[in-house]
Symmetry: C2
Subunit: 297 residues, 2 copies
């Protein structure tokens, strides 16, 4: 279940309120496109900005809208007790997995991060995905900590922040991780520009930002790689290079929100203030780049 | 009012619940020691980890316990609407100033940070302290942005993250800031190891972590500097060097919590999980260092 393309939908807001209808439609669109799972309330789902009740509601809506497609739900929070609340709510909603990042205000120590995962897996009835996102959590896992946490009963997958773009180096890195992790723990690449390299190098899953908004493009890339057509996966990633360039410049959240707004999937603006999203000139450049992609979304 | 020693008390928890009695006693102790202001719910007050209702309760308790000493309250949050809720609650409690850091999950742009401050000062009846803490917010102000925000009606002070330790460089830096800011906007140094250098160089205030737990030591340093006895301020800062060393190693929050626990001011453990605080060996080294300080707390 923790393999293939996991698509991360936006959580759109209108006037600082959840746009539940638009969110449900986003999730249904992903399920209809054939993604392997939906991860609600990832970084692209603005989990860190939402209240407990909003997060519970999003988890419920995601499970309802996804039909037979498994839904994973992000449960990260600064305080362990809040993580446990979110985990309870996600499981009550029907989530089949929990995504947990060691979010920090005060930078966390290795022992603190280990303790957090230990507490959460002990309390959860569904598997946990370890979410390594140093850019937003300011915590950098090392391989020893990956291995220790992966041995905890209840850990199903590790969402790694990319792999080297060089093919040989990527294969070495994934092989190295395989050697550290129990066999049942899958490796999922994130950082969309690394997806083709990661899947080609043997990652089991792609935890995908762009897959939440352009699922056909992401599925094309993922299917090619997972069926062994590495050159085709790389070609499809190169096609998306203008999007990756925008990610690097503005952050992926602002960019996929602008794409979803441009496609009419969500109202504009859709992000929680103080995040402003792209300005008019930035949007114009992004839309020009997207129009050249010949997307079949 | 935004000058002198502003002491930042801990917000102690017991079994994941606010220890309101211990918190009130901490604040009263600071007021009795003669601090110039108390800032509740700073980084050392764990604001980022607490719920809205907990933060409202802390603000109320702080104002009650501080007597005639002005209380400022930290209102930072990831979402602008949440910041406004905290600002409303703090003002209803009787706060005389609001401390606002541009907390981020997704790194913020300059325009987003400016917009956040603009919105908050427009909605607030009490002055705002701009809280620049790149280590926890992952946002770095530049001088142009300082100047633009300081010109907003309602900004009273800027809490800067230290100054150069070199005397001449520190004076140059503070003079440079003075040239940028309206005259009524005070400059407060933070990062306790920089306090003596900052006050000696002409900062108006010290927004102090250690002042929240060792107020006599902090007042001794602050009074010496503000009365013009620069060598005495530096001597007192050097005396506290073992504490500064612990701050650098473990983060100031974990260290002042361990000191407060050691002094019996709060129960152990007092920090919100997943933060574990210092382990036994680290505590022993800290306590040995403190016992050599001959503190009169």
């Amino acid at each position: 279940m923790f393999a293939g393309l996991s698509a991360f939908p936006l959580t759109p807001l209108v006037d600082d309120q959840l746009d539940e209808r638009a969110f449900s439609a986003l999730v249904k669109r992903l399920a209809d496109a054939g993604v392997d799972s939906v991860t609600a309330l990832g970084s692209t789902g603005s989990y860190a900005y939402l209240s407990r009740s909003e997060r519970a509601r999003v988890a419920q809506r995601a499970v309802q809208a996804a039909g037979d497609v498994p839904v994973f739900v992000g449960v990260g929070a600064l305080r362990t007790s809040h993580v446990l609340h979110h985990a309870d709510d996600a499981q009550a909603a029907g989530a089949q997995g929990l995504l947990l990042a060691p979010v920090s205000y005060q930078t966390l120590t290795r022992d603190e991060v280990y303790g957090l995962f230990e507490t959460v897996v002990q309390r959860s009835d569904v598997p946990v995905i370890v979410y390594d996102n140093p850019a937003t959590t300011r915590f950098t896992f090392d391989d020893e900590l990956y291995a220790a946490i992966a041995r905890l009963d209840g850990v199903a997958s590790i969402k790694i922040p990319g792999v080297p773009l060089d093919e040989t180096a990527a294969r070495q890195r994934v092989a190295e991780l395989r050697g550290l992790l129990p066999r049942h723990v899958t490796i999922g690449v994130s950082g969309d520009p690394y997806a083709a390299a990661g899947l080609n190098a043997g990652c089991d899953a792609w935890y995908s930002v762009v897959g939440g908004t352009l699922p056909a493009a992401a599925l094309g890339l993922a299917r090619a790689a997972l069926e062994g057509d590495a050159p085709e996966a790389l070609r499809r990633s190169e096609e998306l290079q203008p999007v990756w360039d925008c990610f690097a410049e503005h952050g992926s959240l602002r960019v996929v929100a602008a794409i979803a707004e441009h496609l009419g999937l969500v109202a504009q603006p859709s992000l929680p203030l103080p995040i402003l999203g792209l300005d008019r000139a930035q949007r114009a450049r992004l839309e020009a780049a997207i129009s050249r992609l010949k997307l079949t979304e």
